[in-house]
Amino acid sequence: MMQVWDLLSWWSEVQMGPPDPILGVSEAYKRDTNPKKINLGVGAYRDDQGKPYVLSCVRKAEAQIAAKKLDKEYLAIGGLGDFTKACAKLALGDDNEVIKSGRNITVQTISGTGSLRIGANFLSRFHTEARDVYLPKPSWGNHTPIFRDAGMQLKAYTYYDPKTCGFDFQGALNDISKIPEKSVIMLHACAHNPTGVDPRPEQWKEIADLVKKRNLLVFFDMAYQGFASGDIDRDAWAVRYFIEQGHNIVLSQSFAKNMGLYGERVGGFTVVCKDAEEAKRVESQLKILIRPIYSNPPMNGARIAATILNTPDLYKEWLGEVHGMANRIITMRELLVANLKKEGSTRNWKHVIDQIGMFCFTGLKPEQVERLTKEFSIYMTKDGRISMAGVTSGNVGYLAQGIHAVTK
């Protein structure tokens, strides 16, 4: 029955893929039997008991949706209209001139990753004047493979200053001033991942100015609106400022973190065009890009997000809950520093409080991270990044103990 050729596989030459650096952390954490173990790898919010948090406004929205008994017909390729309109308004502001004049096109995407991928595909196909995408150094680990797979080339501009664990403003300006015209520059709108280091408004203004002089195409990645400062308008300030200054940006949004809709895959991709006519043409091309990947996006999460954004009391409740999540993170930052001081650490931990959003770039070196994991069962990525969301009032003391032990 089975001939000799049957014993050969098409896949003999397929190599084992390297393990995902971030997921590998979670997997090792799961295997660890130490009752004091802490997982600071995963970028998902946890409450003060270390549990996943389903927002109350989400549960309410789900109940409302269930009562409506909607059908399950395909969405349009560009997604749920109620969602995309609200998504754009959330980012750009209710009265934004761009939305009023219809010169944006916003499509629903498979969360932030899907949005970045559609954006990368779009630029790869239509932004033929330049192939290079400049990422801040460092950036989210998945940015590089996404753009590369889409056919773009990756370069970097200075961003993080390891000496101060802060923003290397001069370094960034120097590098940006040398970027060839028409290149794409990626900016994290707020709560930079992985460093938690954001430019101040005055610094954003200078960056915007320089980027305009260099005639660069701005790609904003906004995965944490509301989650950074607790205020959605404040977190969108940079995006709105750039648009005000005349940059026709492209923008990726995720609702994974700020609505806790991680697994529902809710996101948006926006192109700000020169006019409504261009927006129509761009829309038609985005559809052509989307159709051969997944045809049309999933309904459930978008329907939840749209319900929240479009129902005044749910929207109000959501703002409160986002504020609450951001506040818990800020409190943990303060508690961690206080505990480190209590442990007797004489190092400067100011950056833990200055940094913003879910992540903290501790400044720990790989050897110190390894010790933390091996000796204390505290799990984080090798670059010293910790997810503040994994810190609780229950484990912050132990965390401070461990960090002090490996850094004294």
Binding site: D20, I110, G263
Partner: protein, 411 residues
């Protein structure tokens, strides 16, 4: 400083969606939409399966469930139960631990993942020159999926014989014989879209024999399992036969139609490999592709399907719901054919009942299609494809009369 950044030409809209749009805007009260491939009840309404409603309630009531990320490859209990549906619970390949799966966004997403993997890892690395064969005709998105994955040579294989309104078996086998070695063939597991014409068991065996001998890659597209005959196992016969023949293959599964979960994007790429070691490496590379496309798949639809498939009473209820849909389609087929015969409409209309699944290739030519749309407000694809689900006991007389009038008056 408002640069017109994008010299972006207006793209032509996707035909099937344009058709739906035109239908929506038509004011004729007698209008009928025989375009988009979605199930409709006899009232012409979308149908959320009763079992789906039940499981949704279960999910809503379960406070232990949350919205956390799924693993990159998806919900494990979905992937394994979905693969079992395609290959059979007692599939030897499953027992031999050489079956794996990737949860994807609908059937499209499963095709996409398979295509991306093949382009990177099949027939040498980053091969873009391996021919990909799709049936003539086929679902229009097949071409785009493989082309966008980087394949430069997407070609048709003979399939539909317009003259005899059936399968062009000789042409099909001929193209299999002449295809370059290692060519990839996209096969419709059942209920061929758009023709509704499937090979018989004997014909499938002949196809398999040539594919094995000429070392061609088997990529099944299974979007209608259960929907074709009303029986899941019957509709999976071809896929399972190929497994018994020792093929390593992909099977892109969609749960859009058979679960009515269109907008939740529930799909599964089932992978049958030589052994578990090869499978492991394949899955590890699939993860890399998923990560740069959508990171991880949506949870709602997969959860729903997993609960249904893994709970005996719900599974039984689902099979029943599927049969309800398939039976209504069969009834409409029989009814339409009977009416056309009664009207003595020129031509033979046996193909309406011989064809299987949601679609029927009526044999109407583009001019006749245009007439149907413009003069009768009956919307169908330019290819002559109709969605049987668009027919109801209330509109079937009007449709039959219209077909009759069209065939008589327009050549």
């Amino acid at each position: 400083f408002v640069p017109g950044l994008f010299n972006v030409p207006q793209a032509t809209p996707v035909a099937v969606f344009k058709l739906s749009n035109d239908f929506k805007e038509d004011a004729n009260p007698k209008k009928v939409n025989l375009g988009v491939g979605a199930y409709r009840t006899d009232e012409g309404q979308p149908w959320v399966l009763p079992v789906v409603k039940k499981v949704e309630k279960i999910i809503v009531a379960d406070n232990s469930l949350n919205h956390e990320y799924l693993a990159i490859l998806g919900l494990p209990e979905f992937r394994s139960s979905a693969s079992k549906i395609a290959l059979g619970e007692d599939s030897p390949a499953i027992q031999e631990n050489r079956v794996g799966a990737v949860q994807c966004l609908g059937g499209t997403g499963a095709l996409k993942m398979g295509a991306e993997f093949l382009r990177r890892w099949y027939n040498g690395n980053d091969n873009t020159k391996t021919p990909v064969y799709v049936s003539a005709p086929t679902w229009e998105n097949h071409n785009a999926v493989f082309a966008n994955a980087g394949f430069e040579d997407v070609r048709p294989y003979k399939y539909w014989d317009a003259e005899k309104r059936g399968l062009d078996l000789d042409g099909f086998l001929g193209d299999l014989e002449s295809a370059p070695k290692h060519s990839i063939f996209v096969l419709h597991a059942c209920a061929h879209n758009p023709t509704g014409t499937d090979p018989t068991h004997v014909e499938w065996m002949q196809v398999a024999e040539v594919m094995k001998r000429r070392k061609l890659f088997v990529f099944f597209d299974s979007a209608y399992q259960g929907f074709a005959s009303g029986c899941l196992d019957k509709d999976a016969w071809a896929v399972r036969y190929f497994v018994t023949q020792g093929f390593e293959m992909f099977c892109a599964q969609s749960f859009s139609k058979n679960f009515g979960l269109y907008n939740e994007r529930v799909g599964n790429l089932t992978i049958v490999a030589r052994d578990s070691d090869n499978l492991k490496r394949v899955l590890s590379q699939m993860e890399k592709i998923v990560r740069v496309t959508w990171s991880n798949p949506p949870s709602q639809g997969a959860r729903l399907v997993a609960i249904t498939l893994n709970t005996p009473e719900l599974f039984a209820e689902w099979k029943d719901n599927v049969k309800t849909m398939a039976d209504r389609v069969l009834l409409m087929r029989a009814s339409l054919q009977a009416k056309l015969q009664a009207l003595e409409t020129p031509g033979t209309w046996d193909h309406i009942t011989q064809q299987i699944g949601m679609f029927s290739f009526t044999g109407l030519n583009p001019k006749q299609v245009e007439y149907m749309i413009k003069e009768r407000s009956i919307y169908l694809m330019a290819s002559g494809r109709i969605n049987m689900c668009g027919l109801t006991t209330k509109n079937i007389d009007y449709v039959a009369e219209s077909i009759h009038e069209t065939v008589v008056n327009v050549q």
